[in-house]
């Protein structure tokens, strides 16, 4: 990109009550500018009615994801230099989720699917029992390790074409979380979980396109987790659900 351009041409999706269009803004360039900086500048200097969502600004909270030039990104950690084409940027709300206003999407369907995927810990002991010993070199612990750094940003959910095509599909993040629990030896709900992830819309819908793994900002690999779930459900079928 041309670093000498003093301004960026930014088109931002504006939507209210289901009526949406792109509007363009001229935003001054800054050194080390992120996409979130650009959106914040527009809201602070050009149009205070622009709605968007962020909290931590450091890639922890997972609330700032948007479509940037057609690809899902965490905007607080995405530099303009890295993704702008020439001096132009197109910023839109996250794909595959309903828009509330402008760049803000309704995350409810995303999180409802975490519950549907039974991605919730089911304790096998009480607080009065001694701590379960799990060593760092435990194979299940190592498998879970690869899946636990999710920040719930829904970038993978926006990248997935199966989510776009099948409204029932649980999606990469929820299934990834279920896989981390399948590898939790303290969990008491494994049979129910395997049922949940192999039902309609479950892991067997995944076409292994691996867009989720390509775009996950934390470099998680939901495809790996989903293939683990596919194997686990196939094995439990062979054991007749035992």
């Amino acid at each position: 990109m041309d670093k000498t351009e003093a301004f960026l041409d930014v088109s931002i999706w504006r939507e209210q009550n289901g009526d949406g269009h792109f509007e363009t803004y001229q935003v001054p360039r800054r050194a080390n500018q992120t996409i979130l900086d650009v959106v914040a500048w527009v809201q602070q200097q050009a149009d205070p009615t622009l709605s968007y969502r962020f909290a931590c600004r450091v890639g922890m909270c997972g609330s700032c994801a948007m479509m940037v030039n057609g690809a899902p990104r965490w905007t607080c950690r995405t530099h303009v230099l890295k993704v702008a084409e020439g001096a132009s940027l197109e910023i839109a709300p996250l794909r595959n989720l309903p828009v509330i206003k402008d760049l803000v999407v309704d995350m409810d369907p995303f999180f409802d699917k975490w519950v549907a995927a039974d991605a919730v810990f089911a304790p096998s002991q009480t607080r009065d029992d001694p701590m379960a010993p799990i060593t760092p070199d435990d194979t299940m612990r190592i498998a879970a390790d690869d899946a636990i750094e999710c920040i719930n940003c829904a970038v993978c959910y926006a990248a997935c074409d199966v989510v776009a095509a099948n409204p029932d599909y649980l999606g990469p993040a929820a299934l990834n979380r279920s896989w981390s629990l399948v590898n939790d030896s303290r969990d008491a709900g494994q049979a129910e979980r395997l049922q949940a992830v192999s039902a309609v819309g479950g892991c067997h819908n995944c076409h292994s396109q691996q867009g989720c793994a390509k775009f996950c900002p934390n470099e998680l690999n939901p495809t790996l987790s989903i293939s683990g779930l596919k194997r686990a459900t196939a094995k439990s079928l062979l054991r007749w659900g035992r």
Partner: protein, 113 residues
């Protein structure tokens, strides 16, 4: 144009697998129909077999063999992905599947002309 969230090797491998599958599904009924002619109408089958000697038809057959091979190797890749322990070399496997398909279909073509 392919939308930006799809411009990566493994999405292209997915669409190749899907399109080759559809292509084969369309081809197979015709294939079986032609085979059935051996029983029902051998003369018409002979006429058709003469037609398949044309270079243009050989080229089309090259395409068919490629579709078949790429769908087979791609399918093996997906089964390995789903049933073997995970390997981080997914892109290499996809590339290998396409390379093997080219190898097989080109071998077929050279032998056919």
């Amino acid at each position: 144009m392919i939308r930006p969230h799809r411009t990566h090797a493994l999405w292209l491998a997915f669409i190749l697998h899907r399109l080759s599958g559809i292509g084969l599904a369309l081809f197979l009924p015709v294939h079986f129909y032609m085979l059935s002619l051996a029983l029902t109408d051998p003369d018409q089958l002979d006429g058709f077999l003469a037609f398949t000697d044309l270079l243009l038809v050989k080229c089309a057959e090259f395409g068919l063999v490629f579709l078949l091979a790429v769908h087979m190797f791609g399918g093996l890749r997906l089964m390995a992905l789903e049933f073997l322990p995970w390997s981080p070399r997914q892109k290499s496997y996809a590339a290998t599947a396409v390379a093997l398909a080219f190898f097989v279909s080109t071998g077929f073509f050279l032998q056919a002309v």
